[in-house]
Point group: C2
Chain length 348, copies 2
């Protein structure tokens, strides 16, 4: 059985499928990014990926490209356990069986406990040879944010701040003389971080003080990649009607949450299928995010200036949040410090 179940070339073709999955990134919310390859007699017959929620899953995309009957006797490589339930599209397991595929190799297991492990049972019952977990870690890593949401109900939260050496985020200068604290290179890196998430969140105070656009500028992103959602967390909901977030070309991508805890807002975003949220401030919102242990990852930019301003980057009295996997990167005249928050006793 082992010779039939395993093939030394499985990893090679799984990597091809992973390349397809990566093309799907940040287009598929609330679905994961998945890629697939169909192989017969060591020849790649078709490749596919999931382009957007509502469109065919990766397996079906590849099958459709190939044409109905040509898949008989082939091997399907897919980066994630095929779905076995009815969603916006019929379950992939049905289509795989119907197409006459004889072997299925998949990477990551579905992290949702309600589905995990169902597909191999269904496929094997239909006489298909199944190999699970090929490059499972790598395949899973493609959807790290999505996995987090599926298993916790909350999006992956990145706390970002640009601050002075002494941890301040306000400029002590008069409003008309205000300057960026961090360098142009850091701000460009900030744009790359924005482009890597599905939503950007700020507090109402930041909207009133800074009127940020929270758009992606000065870097290239694929034209068809949707713009991140812009989330405003405001107790009062008092946001100026002329705010960029409410009036610019992306105004339909702005969501305002009023009179809710930050945790509640993030739960709501999770329910809407948003898997990653970048919190960009201000100090009160970041303080609350750390206080409530909602932050998973930190990206702080520290500029070589002592400010002694009024607004600390993290404005709350919290339990210390220690970081793991810390990376210090010199960027322009600043240093970027990134790391993952150690979660010892996560609140549920």
């Amino acid at each position: 059985m082992k010779s039939k179940n395993q093939d030394p070339q499985d990893e090679l073709f799984m990597r091809l499928a992973m390349k397809q999955a990566i093309r799907a990134l940040r287009r598929t919310a609330p679905n994961p990014a998945v890629g697939a390859v169909i192989l017969k007699n060591s020849k790649v017959l078709a490749k596919g990926y999931h382009r957007s929620a509502g469109l065919p899953h990766a397996e079906i995309d590849a099958l459709q490209k190939l044409g109905a009957s040509k898949a008989v006797g082939s091997t399907l490589y897919v980066t994630l356990e095929p779905c076995s339930s009815h969603g916006k599209t019929p379950p992939c397991t049905e289509s795989i069986i119907a197409a006459g595929i004889s072997r299925v190799v998949y990477g990551a297991t579905d992290p949702d406990k309600r589905h995990r492990g169902r597909a191999p049972r269904i496929l094997r019952k239909a006489g298909i040879v199944v190999r699970e977990g090929v490059l499972a870690k790598e395949c899973s890593a493609i959807n790290a944010h999505w996995n987090h949401r599926v298993s916790t109900g909350l999006p992956w939260v990145i706390a970002k701040a640009g601050m002075s050496l002494d941890g301040r985020i306000d400029s002590p200068l008069h409003i008309s003389e205000r300057r960026w604290i961090t360098s142009a290179a850091s701000r460009k890196e900030g744009m790359r971080i924005r482009a890597s998430v599905e939503a950007i969140l700020v507090g109402g105070g930041t909207v009133r003080t800074d009127d940020p656009a929270l758009t992606i500028r000065d870097i290239k992103i694929p034209e068809d990649q949707p713009h991140p959602w812009r989330i405003v967390w405001s107790k009062s909901g008092k946001i100026p009607k002329k705010s960029k977030l409410l009036t610019d070309a992306h105004r339909d991508r702005t969501l305002l949450f009023t009179n809710m805890t930050l945790r509640r807002v993030l739960k709501e975003l999770g329910k809407r299928g948003i898997s990653s949220v970048l919190i960009e401030g201000g100090g009160h919102t970041l303080g609350e995010a750390f206080k409530r242990k909602l932050v998973d990852e930190v990206r702080f930019f520290i500029a070589p200036v002592i400010q002694g301003g009024r607004v600390p980057a993290v404005n709350a009295h919290i339990s210390p949040a220690h970081l793991n996997e810390v990376i210090y990167t010199k960027i322009g005249s600043d240093v970027m410090i990134s790391g993952l928050v150690k979660k010892l006793n996560p609140e549920s």
Copy 2:
């Protein structure tokens, strides 16, 4: 004349003299660290350095080693312009002339406007060939702190802090559970910084809260290198009588300044011949130091933890102090950020 005044080997022997000067570092306050070499027929006859205030200057140290009459017709290399005034010792120019030295090569010019350029005039009048400024920058750099004090009246001030990523220096934990914010490697580097200065200053609040020893531990320093002065800046002067600073083996190296501005304290230290002061906190003292533009150099250690504590590292509302020549160094799990404060409009 040029052939007599210059020699391609001058730099070589000046470097030998610099090595002697470096042996003198941190032993000579209020005097600079100086080294000397006596040369005749391309042969080094003697080397010397200034060991301590009150002891012979470097030139005289070398001459004494050589013995009275043997210096006739020799060349003297000395890292700093020889002194020409009576201090605790007679002027070196007199001894040089009396020893029959025929050529003097020196590195840095005396930064004190009252003395600079006097020595070469006196020596030339006595028929000695003088070459000035050989490796002047390098020779001057040995006494960077001393130069600063001589030209400004104030010691060179280094602001040091160990802080969280969000710029806090207090531990939010209960006093019995208090831990260091920064790593052991950072604290060791902190000891090296202490060993590089002539005084360490803290505010009275820090003495009351932390009871620091401000001693040099866990690193090796030469046995005869004096321990840095320990300066307490306290408005009230209310320092617990059992404080380590008042009771330990180094208690005679503690100075308490009460009811004075921080600038006044530093001026006093300058008058006492202290050329370098490390300010180690707390937040109020560092805040005041930045606010009054008294800081020349910054050494901040940032640990990968978000604290959200009550005490910012720099606790004052100040004009931004921008840094030059910034260096980011990964040290243990922390990053050390060092730089020089840009002084655009220094207060006088």
